[in-house]
Subunit: 214 residues, 2 copies
DNA sequence: GAAAAATCGAGAATTTTTTAACAATATTTT
DNA sequence: AAAATATTGTTAAAAAATTCTCGATTTTTC
């Protein structure tokens, strides 16, 4: 059974990767896997994989390994992928549209219900069944519809203000693509995708490698 | 002066954030900052900030703090943001186009030189001065032009093959948006932006908070 | 069916990362 | 100009994360 200690974020970050690899295995008909084999696939150590999984309970069987389909389901349940989620996207520019079109959503039961933007040229258009609505209608919309996750794809100049509006309307989970850290109350979880930071890290390692190979 | 010990990736991940905050300070005319104040802004502990910076040398002055503009420049140099980088994007679908339009590039001297795609409807179009070219011309292009960073925005079914082609043509830095881990030789650095993993983590914490608030 | 091999789960040991403590030094106050 | 305050850089301590070890259990081999 699940233990009630605090699980480290590093563990939680690895679970989606395990989930993905197990999905691939399942798809090609593999139904048994050892931590050693998962280690070879993922690059994490076998010990770490066992340790990670044991945070949530013993899913494996000594002498045998893990049942692929079962382990995948268990990790899915831990992450909450067995449930349905409704999403809105605020900011229907390039990133917002790309996210709306993102097929990764369909790996689990995420539904993009609507997008919001201020640009009159965009309002009224649809992306994969999701209508782009006027930002002014955001609050009304959130009063009527239950939304689980809001994605912020606005320019950074307005992201804080948009986030505060979302929180006022009851949103507790934000996926933030604006290159700024949102100041939010504790009861709101923000997952940042800061592309500039990612690119800058890449740049550091690119230069480091170039220097070393000289 | 820079010490030659191995710097932990966690440190490198924090540098872009320092850089961003220092840029904001600089823009509003602040020219002195203490680790304590930076701590309040960034959420990292003052001690950690000092420790991080001292990996690369003492940029501050005891009793005084750090000169904002100077520290920003130093971090910029560490990350390599004082140089120019040429980028190509392989896969001109939603994400590829969004990245091509991404204004975060212009914070430093990154230039998107071209995009590549197989879709005839896209080939010939331009995004912000960058032409979408036929994927078949990728290798020829890379022979003629020096490219620093390649961005992979293809479907996952072809990302490994594309990556291998890029590496054959001399690419050593890959920004990977395909939801798959690339198997690459050691001399290639891959920075992954796995949106599905990010969303799954968010989902975990969303559910955790919901449970706790019940 | 006994012996060998494989594998997990759990706790111990190790390594890495973060935080704390404080001497050294600069600035500000009186 | 002396005392008080602020702040860095560095070393030490603490905490966290990872790896190692090994008993328990299952499967495979002979």
């Amino acid at each position: 059974m699940g233990k009630n200690e605090k699980i480290s974020p590093a563990v939680i970050r690895r679970l989606p990767k395990y989930y993905r690899y197990l999905g691939e295995l399942s798809k090609v008909g593999v139904n048994k896997i050892s931590s050693r084999e998962l280690s070879d696939m993922t690059g994490f150590s076998a010990s770490q994989i066992r340790q990670d999984l044991n945070n949530f309970g013993g899913f494996g069987q000594q002498g045998f390994g893990y049942d692929v389909e079962n382990l995948r389901n268990e990790i899915g349940k831990i992450l909450g992928l067995d449930k349905k989620y409704k999403i809105i996207i605020v900011g229907a520019g390039n990133i917002g549209q790309a996210i709306a079109n993102y097929t990764g959503f369909y790996e689990a039961d995420y539904e993009v219900v609507a997008l919001f933007d201020k640009n009159p040229k965009l309002i009224g258009l649809s992306i994969r069944n999701a209508l782009i609505m006027d930002s002014d209608d955001l609050e009304d919309f959130l009063e009527k519809e239950h939304i689980d996750i809001a994605v912020i794809c606005t320019p950074k100049s307005v992201c804080q203000q948009v986030a505060e509006q979302l929180v006022r309307c009851g949103i507790r989970a934000i996926w933030n693509f604006a290159p700024k850290d949102l100041k939010m109350p504790e009861e709101v979880y923000v997952e940042n995708v800061h592309l500039n930071e990612s690119l800058f890290s890449l740049t550091y390692y690119y230069n480091k490698m170039k220097k070393e190979s000289e």
